[in-house]
Amino acid sequence: MNYIDLPLEEWTNNFVNGWLLPVMSGFFDSISTALSSFIDGVTNLITSIPPEIIAVVLILLAWKLAGRGIALFTLIGCLYIGSVDLWAETMQTVAIVIVSTIISVIFGVPVGIASAKSSLIDKIVRPILDFMQTLPIFVYLIPSILLFGLGGVPAVIATFVFAAPPAVRMTRLGILQVPEEVVEASKAFGTTSKQLLFKVQLPLAIPTIMAGINQTIMLALSMAVVASMIGAPGLGSVVLSGISTVNVGLGLTGGLAIVVIAIILDRITQGVGNKL
């Protein structure tokens, strides 16, 4: 099948080494600085709050939004994380999840709206999303180290690439799901396109958008171990050091903490979606 010799490898390397790194490094540096101070800010904020307060807030939220069972689970989960002495690592992981989720939503929701409104944009966006979700993580993990260095920033970028697509897709779906007659009726009464979006389509799409955000959070958490491979602090690095020293107990201890956080965040965000 080798009819033409395609030197994609060479081209890419030339592009990265010859242009991207030397010419654009200033640009990437400034992104890196901004992101890293964002991550630090969030991390400092949630680690400065006493664990007991965070635990109580989470339990109350779980109770309000997901019922008594989940509140009980949250209580036990928080006690577990405290008892295995992983609270600080958990908060570091949660900070990266929060930052990547916020960035995913900031990008994802508007892009989702745009692709719901224009089939042309949808045609362009869709393959990009497929690309983001299926390209093996390590393919873009390594370049993101080259561009942003080690630490939390490339971890957030990599997490964003992997976790943003559901936010885009579910936003688009949510808007397209608004019944045709409701949209027609709104137009017939003279809504501007802005009014149609903000007074009708978005409010009705919010449960679906929330389901997308919930998926984004779950995917972000699932990236925790991978993110720690490129130097992100948190539960991932606990698991990673457990694996690398064949310390099965340590691996399980960190892994369980990830599962606990995942379940708590999933049930609470699902509850938000259902309440709206």
């Binding site: 019944p179 007659e181 409701v182 027609e184 009726a185 709104s186 137009k187 017939a188 009464f189 003279g190 809504t191 501007t192 009014q195 007074k199 009708v200 409010p203 009705l204």
Partner: protein
């Protein structure tokens, strides 16, 4: 001036509508265009005008283009060709801003599936049209509350649409359209999703509202009975074309083509037809001055057993039977004394046929149609029944 005027309005769905338009104007048919180009002709050069205060019904089966047509009127769908004049202004040429203003101020709309906003209360649904115009909360809620009361939903202001039955939801739909106080109401199969009893109730309500507020209503339906009941005039659509426009009587009596006559074949004519539509001239008439002898002769010639008697001004006087005429002749009694007046049922020409069916079964003689005392014609039981079955065709049969 016409409230709505639609001229040569055409909508072609597909990739090259202008090409399809050219074919249409060359007289090609909807099916041919679909086969050759894959494009669907939604509405084909429709023209009609709606007068102020009129209920104009567009009726057709599904796929006839009626729903597309009503959406072209407020430009929810962009037309391919033609014009739509709302109060003389062509909505198809308006810029975005003017279009939105026209929709807000002039065109209310009611939808088959209601199209209510599920996340808003009934109050906020009804006030929605005012809200998007930027009318302050207090004022718009006052108007909304009055309108909610008008449609009989007082007490449901804080409910959500999903908590209401279909009929109540459509009342909200109507209230929402009324709250904007537009002159024109566009109603797209507004009652088709409701069950028959509620539908009838809503039809009566609409007539009442229209009577009170004098709205101009463009009403879409696939139900001929509904069209006949509501419509001052009816347009019948087929394959995107308007095939006939007329009053209920005109359409029932003179269907424009086979399609329409097929359509109206099964109509419950008794609700639509009036006495004047089925009455016949009495075969023989007797004037006062004619004596009983002539009466007997006339009856013999026409081989009938009774004869209607009028005076010189054609005022109806009574009925004379052959027995009485013979008796009068033999005993030299004056004809006036022998006239039957009490057993003869008289009524006005606009009496619905429906009302006559029961009467005709119980009277001995044909019903006499009288206007200002003058005899116009007679209605026999046979002519009522044949009118119900055949409509106007009956005359054709007779003329052969």
């Amino acid at each position: 001036m016409n409230k709505i005027e639609v001229n040569h309005l055409t909508k072609i769905f597909g990739s090259h509508p202008q090409q399809g338009l050219k074919r249409l104007k060359n007289g090609e048919q909807k099916n041919g265009i679909l086969k050759k180009t894959g494009m669907t002709v939604g509405v084909n050069q429709a023209s009609f005008a709606v007068k102020p205060g009129e209920i104009f019904v567009i009726m057709g089966l599904s796929g006839s283009g009626k729903s597309t047509l009503i959406r072209l009127v407020n430009r929810l769908i962009e037309p391919t060709d033609g014009e739509v004049l709302i109060d003389g202004e062509d909505i198809t040429k308006m810029d975005k801003h003017t279009l939105i203003e026209t929709r807000r101020k002039k065109l209310g709309m009611v939808f088959q599936k209601f199209g209510l906003l599920p996340h808003k209360t009934i109050m906020n649904n009804v006030a929605f049209g005012l809200e998007i115009q930027g009318i302050e909360r207090e004022k718009r809620e006052k108007i909304a509350l009055e309108t909610i009361e008008d449609v009989g939903l007082k007490g449901y202001e804080d409910s959500y649409p999903s908590e209401l039955s279909g009929g109540m939801q459509q009342r909200v739909g109507i209230a929402r359209a009324l709250a904007n106080d537009t002159d024109i109401l566009l109603m797209d199969e507004a009652f088709s999703a409701l069950d028959p009893i509620i539908r009838k109730e809503m039809q009566d309500e609409l007539l009442k509202i229209q009577n009170k507020l004098g709205k101009t209503v463009l009403f879409i339906t696939h139900d001929l009975d509904e069209a006949l009941k509501l419509g001052d005039r009816i347009a019948i659509m087929k394959d995107g074309k308007i095939v006939q426009i007329g009053t209920s009587e005109e359409i029932l009596e003179n269907p424009a083509d086979d399609y329409v006559s097929n359509f109206v074949k099964d109509v419950d004519r008794s609700k639509v037809l009036e006495a004047s539509h089925v009455m016949k001239k009495p075969e023989v008439l007797l004037s006062y001055k004619d004596g009983p002898r002539l009466a007997v002769r006339k009856m013999e010639e026409a081989s009938v057993s009774s004869i209607f008697v009028t005076d010189k001004e054609k005022n109806f006087k009574g009925l004379l039977t052959i027995d009485d005429a013979v008796k009068a002749y033999q005993n030299n009694i004056s004809m006036e004394e022998m006239l039957i007046t009490e057993d003869v049922y008289t009524t006005s020409p606009d009496t619905p046929l429906n009302d006559l069916i029961g009467i005709a079964a119980n009277v001995k003689y044909p019903i006499v149609i009288v206007e200002d005392g003058k005899l116009l014609g007679i209605v026999s039981r046979v002519s009522i029944l044949s009118g119900l079955v055949l409509g106007k065709e009956k005359d054709e049969v007779e003329s052969i």
